[in-house]
């Protein structure tokens, strides 16, 4: 178990360090890379407590897809310049109290959750109607709960995501006029008679092309 503890502390130190570096580092692209490092170490921590399914899904969804888009946006737009303007200007720093307020609320919530769990460890077990079966893998366990007891919430969250996706597509979709598009159907269904015309040029006269 010593090795387990050592690895736990290594991963947590890396996670906390990279979380701090996300906000501290000057270069915005670097902070996105630190965010990715943070995601990876947190998924390592998930795997260490035996929740390998959540760890892998975290890697696939957050690191494989969300962070790539983050990186995209940060690289394409010149975000670092804007950030320096914000932080350099004394007048425009009124977003700091809002940030402090939000972080205070999150801290308060964390205290409630962790405190409740420390105060009454059996409290969490009463929430789940099914006892945890240690024999089957946690993928099976999640599936059993997710698709039976919580199916409505699961479907609802899927609906919310679908609506958000359609909204994003509608907002960015624009139809431009006068653009030549390739149509495979028209290309393939073109006949020889449409494309080729047999001309019979007379001597010294030539052919008139554009009629």
């Amino acid at each position: 178990m010593i090795i387990h503890t050592i690895f736990f502390y290594i991963f947590s130190i890396i996670a906390i360090f990279s979380a701090i570096m996300v906000t501290v580092s000057r270069n915005t692209v670097h902070s996105v890379f630190f965010l990715i490092l943070d995601f990876i170490t947190i998924s390592c921590l998930f795997i260490m407590i035996g929740a390998e399914f959540i760890g892998m899904i975290m890697l696939i969804v957050y690191v494989g897809a969300v962070a790539v888009l983050f990186l995209f946006v940060v690289m394409m737009l010149n975000v670092s310049k804007q950030k320096n303007e914000w932080l350099g200007d004394e007048k425009n720093s009124n977003h700091i109290p809002i940030g402090l307020l939000i972080s205070g609320i999150i801290f308060f919530e964390l205290i409630i959750v962790v405190g409740g769990w420390k105060y009454k460890p059996e409290l969490l077990k009463t929430f789940s109607s099914i006892g945890i079966d240690l024999d089957s893998t946690n993928t099976h366990e999640i599936g059993k709960v997710l698709y039976t007891d919580y199916i409505h919430l699961f479907q609802l969250s899927g609906m919310v995501l679908l609506v958000a996706m359609i909204g994003a597509i509608v907002l960015t979709f624009r139809k431009r006029e006068g653009i030549k598009r390739q149509s495979y159907f028209r290309q393939i269904s073109r006949e020889r008679t449409e494309g080729v015309e047999l001309a019979d040029p007379k001597n010294n006269e030539g052919v008139k092309i554009d009629v």
Binding site: V29, F53, M56, I60, V63, A65, Q182
Partner: protein, 333 residues
Amino acid sequence: MIEYLNILITEIYKIFLLIIPILTAVAMIVWLDRRVWAFVQKRRGPNVVGPFGLFQSLADALKYIFKEIIIPASSNKIIFVLAPIVTMTLALISWAVIPFSEELVLANINVGILYLFAVSSLGVYGIIMGGWASNSKYPFLGAIRSAAQMVSYEVSIGVIIINVLLCVGSLNLTDIVLAQKNLWFIVPLFPMFIIFFISALAETNRPPFDLPEAEAELVAGYQTEYSGMMYAMFWLGEYANILLMCSMGSILFLGGWLSPIDLYPFTLVPAPLWLIIKILLLFILFSLVKAIVPRYRYDQLMKLGWKIFLPLSLTWVVLTASYLFYFNLLPVN
């Protein structure tokens, strides 16, 4: 403490036993790729160094080692150096879960296929990091292209994996292979195999989808500023990824280490050899495609990924699920 050390040493020994053959295989596979490519074009290919030119890759590697590594002055140096390392590492760590036979696997984890998928989806970072850190136009364009391409084709690969998982009922790679004992999944899921093959081409930036390094437009894409051993690491990582995709294809669809017929002469062949034969077969298909298909245009590539492959594979998921549900074949444990 001695006990821990013992475990550590045996694990390291196992890892070396896996990594060294893979690196050798990658070198050999580069030679095979060039030979197949040459044979299609009626050339001879590399045939000078060693018997049949077998040592060509070794000679190339030596050349790369002795070349100077140039780091551009305006580049972001840490990320520039990290990028090839990330590519190479990610290409090698995914081999940990590949089962070569029922016992011969380094880590038989419960979520093996998810692990493979996660690691292959991380592969895009090596390319983005290299492209951005070079601080130059061509590499950046190449990196953006490859990020969009790899994210799009990952989606269809994920949906195809769901198809297979519906038939297996487990995320463990050994279980996936054992579920194909009677019938390889290539038979009922043949269209998915085709889509998987094409998506794997796009995911590994192979021709006809090699737009990130399209030499006619982008010099060499994200590799433009790299030289010497750093370039060679990108290159090795790419080929290790291709081998990995081939082995993923053979595990998901071609029955992994299982022999095609469970009869006398076939059972003599050891199980890992079957997997290797299948990987080689898929790889030769990969290099044939490289030789005979022209490069896609970028909008065609995106259209193929999002408008053809994604709807097709999603429809096939619905079909597979309905079929299994209707005939009561769903794997339950």
